[in-house]
């Protein structure tokens, strides 16, 4: 059998200077965290050889900076400026690696399709979906605009966006993330490519949407006999989709084999670590007395958003984001809050942190009412009791400040002034507590990796000794190995300092590993709550069941 794609001895290296540009260009996402700027010249892909047969799905897995995205981009010569590449890449025998820019442009989209992590930015926001798909066709073939639109309709039909639903006439912002990713797939599939490259195609999607997109990709690959190169950091996705897996570490392929073998009998220690981290083990034992009084009590919270006013003479429409949500967290307890995007998780967190007014309902912290309207001094006193860790380890720090100043920002809450020496001592103490070094206080956030930055965020939340810390998708931007370490750290800290966590995530694995009790949020309502294992073993509500079924899992 002849391979669709054969990569031999691929090397990619960067000059010293443009390295920073690569890190910036990479954008967000777990795969593109990018190393700290200023590193010397380095080889990011070393002697990589791969092959993909027709109809085969090859999973390329690895941590941030392992070179897996660079390998995928090298196929279409889409490397960032400053990259030098050697080796041979053949598509059905044709040598892509020695093609001119004009030749490779003809191959892109026609013979090799590509889809990216963020479907929102891959589409032109001002162009109707139908026109956008049709344009791809007209770039490569001389067809009438009518024929192109018909072809676009067929292609969108195949990815489950039928013409009757009016998808052709819509603009990208009118579609959900999953629908946008389907459009991107339709565009990639339009010319009947023999190879599809998918770089973290489902990382930005909800579990339920993710399951649908994965099923679609698998079906298309098998039906059309197309090779699929799936680049991801998520072994669970690989387990669902791939026939074969190649594991990359620091630019090299350390292990390759059938998916079943890699997951069950990994040989290389790195692969073993990855598989172990993907099978998240329970991080803590429940140690909360059920009778304890709640430290955080949320009663019947309703949040309405006002929509844009359509007419001067009509009252603006409103949208109910939260509809009577109640939840309670006891001292030292870890509570998970699960739900898809748009279910109201973020609004609820904002109300709990008193960053947003609730239309109805109340929040009490340590038995006292806590809301955005509280007076200054009382507000500060209450704020001390609840702190937050955010999702984005880059955006949650002012890049101009040193770690010491960042971590001591909440000291503003302490009425009595804290002396400089005292502040330095406390900062050093929390830094050590989260597994960093006291000397890190003088550095700036950009000098740290994503996982270390999340540790700094935890240190900042810990410094006022709060009763509750909220985590908004706090580990979803991290690699599996780093995620494992951070979750372990959180479990250890909870045991040490008796702090309660409210852990918000769409990732059920994470919630299961850390939470004592969970709440399931759907369209602004709590549809199910209970002890974690009880809910996972016997979910009552159909939505919970759907979520659990859609979550990709490794075979036990």
């Amino acid at each position: 059998m002849s391979a669709v794609l054969r990569i031999q001895d691929l090397n990619v290296a960067f000059d010293a200077a443009p390295r920073a540009a690569v890190a910036m260009r990479g954008g967000g996402g777990p795969d593109r965290g990018g190393p700290a700027p200023g590193r010397p010249a380095q080889r990011v892909v070393k002697n990589v050889s791969l092959h993909i047969e027709a109809g085969e799905i090859l999973g390329l897995v690895g941590a941030s900076g392992s070179g897996k995205s660079m390998t995928a981009r090298a196929v279409l010569q889409l490397l960032p400026p400053g990259a030098r590449m050697s080796g041979s890449i053949r598509l059905r025998g044709e040598r892509l690696s020695s093609m001119s820019a004009a030749q490779i442009r003809a191959v892109r989209g026609r013979d090799v399709g590509m889809i990216f992590q963020e479907p929102a930015t891959a589409l032109n926001p001002l162009m109707r979906i139908g026109d956008q798909v049709a344009e791809t066709l007209r770039l490569h073939r001389r067809v009438s605009s009518r024929a192109a639109r018909d072809a676009a309709r067929v292609a969108l039909d195949q990815v489950g966006l039928s013409g009757e639903s009016g998808a052709l006439e819509r603009l990208p912002f009118e579609l959900s993330g999953g629908q946008r990713q389907r459009v991107a797939i339709a565009m990639a599939m339009l010319m009947g490519p023999s190879l599809l490259i998918a770089d973290e195609p489902t990382t930005a999607l909800d579990v339920i949407t993710q399951a649908q997109v994965l099923a679609l990709l698998r079906e298309l690959a098998k039906l059309r006999g197309m090779g699929l190169l799936l680049v991801t950091h998520d072994l669970a996705v690989i387990a669902q989709l791939a026939d074969r897996v190649a594991v990359m570490q620091q630019g090299e392929i350390v292990e390759e084999g059938s998916t079943a073998r890699i997951l069950r009998h990994a040989q290389h220690p790195y692969t073993q670590a990855l598989v172990a981290a993907a099978r998240l083990q329970r991080k803590r034992a429940t140690s909360v007395s059920p009778g304890a009084a709640p430290v955080l009590d949320v009663q019947g919270v309703v949040v309405d958003y006002r929509r844009e006013r359509r007419s001067l003479f009509k009252a603006p429409a409103s949208l109910r984001a939260l509809n009577g949500v109640s939840l309670a967290i006891r001292a030292g307890e870890t509570v998970g809050l699960v739900g898809e995007s748009g279910s109201g998780k973020t609004s609820l967190l904002q109300v709990i942190l008193a960053l947003r007014h609730a239309t109805e309902g109340r929040v009490s912290l340590l038995g006292r009412e806590f809301c955005a309207a509280s007076a200054g001094s009382r507000m500060r006193e209450l704020r001390r009791g609840i702190q937050a860790v955010f999702q984005d380890p880059v955006g949650s720090f002012n890049p101009r400040w040193t770690v010491e100043r960042l971590i001591s920002e909440p000291f503003f809450l302490l009425d009595a002034g804290v002396s400089a020496a005292e502040r330095r001592r406390k900062v050093a103490e929390v830094l050590v507590q989260v597994g960093l070094d006291a000397s890190d206080a003088r550095r700036h956030p950009h000098e740290f990796s994503g996982g270390q930055r999340q540790r700094i965020a935890i240190a900042r939340a810990l410094i006022t000794r709060p009763a509750v810390i909220t985590f908004d998708e706090a580990v979803s931007a991290l690699d599996v190995l780093v995620r494992e370490q951070i979750l372990q750290l959180l479990a250890d800290l909870a045991a040490q300092v008796k702090v309660a966590y409210l852990f918000v995530s769409h990732d059920l694995h994470v919630i299961r590993a850390i939470a004592d009790r969970i709440y399931v949020l759907q369209s602004g309502r709590i549809v199910e709550e209970g002890a974690t294992e009880a809910v996972f073993n016997a979910p009552q509500h159909p939505y919970t069941r759907a979520l659990i079924a859609a979550t990709p899992a490794l075979p036990a």
Binding site: M24, L353, L355, G376, M379, R380, R383, R384, I386, Q387, A388, F390, Q391, D392, G395, S396, F397, N398, P399, R400, E409, P410, F412, L413, A457, R460
Partner: protein, 271 residues
């Protein structure tokens, strides 16, 4: 690489020209070759000579001294006007971005109101009401600068407010003003410096324009605009009297624009 070199070139040339005129204006505060107010009718309309490097005007004043003293007026009026605009406009912009909603609407519609008048017309209006003079020119030009700074800082601040660290600061209990000061304002520094340079060059032109129509600095305070006005009737007799202040103004504004452009690019390049 080529583009980078040209950026540095405009930054350097603009910097040198601007610093040159600024230095000239500063020196003129303490020393000029002759007293620019000294009339010497006997030596009127002289050609350049060793005694008067750029000649004398119709009242026998030394043109070089007039130009230097005019630079002082120009720099003084324009920089004070920029200061007024920034000192009032930036807090307004920060407040609009921090409070949003009604505050934002009210401030920005007020801005639009000032914007709706052509700037020079507004300045003429103010000086007509409060009387001509350098101080009133400063106020008139300063008022026109306010909405510009308010708008620029609001736009930058809105962007900065989307960062998670402002959320972290709110969770740390800091008020909107304090966050604006500590986290938002440093983000605006680059755009504000660029905007200040642009407003400065507009201020130079506005000062000269007001003086030209007789509403700016009054005699005997020297001003490039009034030099142009007075030279107008003598263009056939002594064209250099009009050309020299014209060249001074042109090159100063050119220098400021080059500097602004260079700074804008430098700010865009920095992380």
């Amino acid at each position: 690489m080529n583009r980078r070199a040209s950026r540095d070139w405009s930054l350097m040339a603009g910097g040198i020209i601007t610093a040159g005129f600024g230095g000239l204006g500063l020196v003129a505060v303490f020393w000029t070759p002759y007293d620019p107010r000294l009339l010497d009718i006997v030596d009127k309309l002289q050609r350049p000579s060793r005694l008067h490097w750029l000649g004398t005007d119709q009242l026998g004043r030394d043109v070089l001294s007039l130009l230097m003293a005019g630079a002082t007026t120009s720099v003084g009026v324009a920089s004070l006007a920029v200061l007024i605009g920034a000192a009032v406009g930036v807090p307004l912009g920060l407040a609009a971005a921090a409070y949003r909603g009604v505050v934002d609407e009210a401030l920005m519609r007020g801005n639009d109101l000032i914007f709706a008048f052509p700037s020079l017309l507004l300045a003429i209006l103010i000086t007509a009401v409060f009387g001509p003079g350098a101080i009133n020119a400063v106020i008139a030009i300063g008022i026109f600068n306010i909405p510009v700074f308010a708008r620029v800082s609001r736009a930058g601040a809105l962007q900065a407010w989307t960062r998670d660290y402002t959320l972290a600061a709110r969770v740390a209990g800091k008020g909107l003003w304090r966050i604006s000061w500590e986290h938002i304002l440093p983000n605006l520094f680059g755009v504000l410096v660029v905007q200040a340079t642009i407003q400065f060059s507009l201020g130079v032109i506005a000062e000269a324009g007001l003086a030209y129509v007789g509403l700016g600095a009054q005699p005997p305070v020297p001003s490039w605009g009034r030099m142009l006005n007075e030279a107008q009737t003598l263009t056939a007799l002594a064209p250099m009297l009009a050309v020299l202040p014209g060249i001074a103004m042109l090159s100063f504004v050119l220098g400021l624009n080059l500097l602004g452009e260079g700074l804008r690019r430098a700010a865009g390049r920095a992380p």
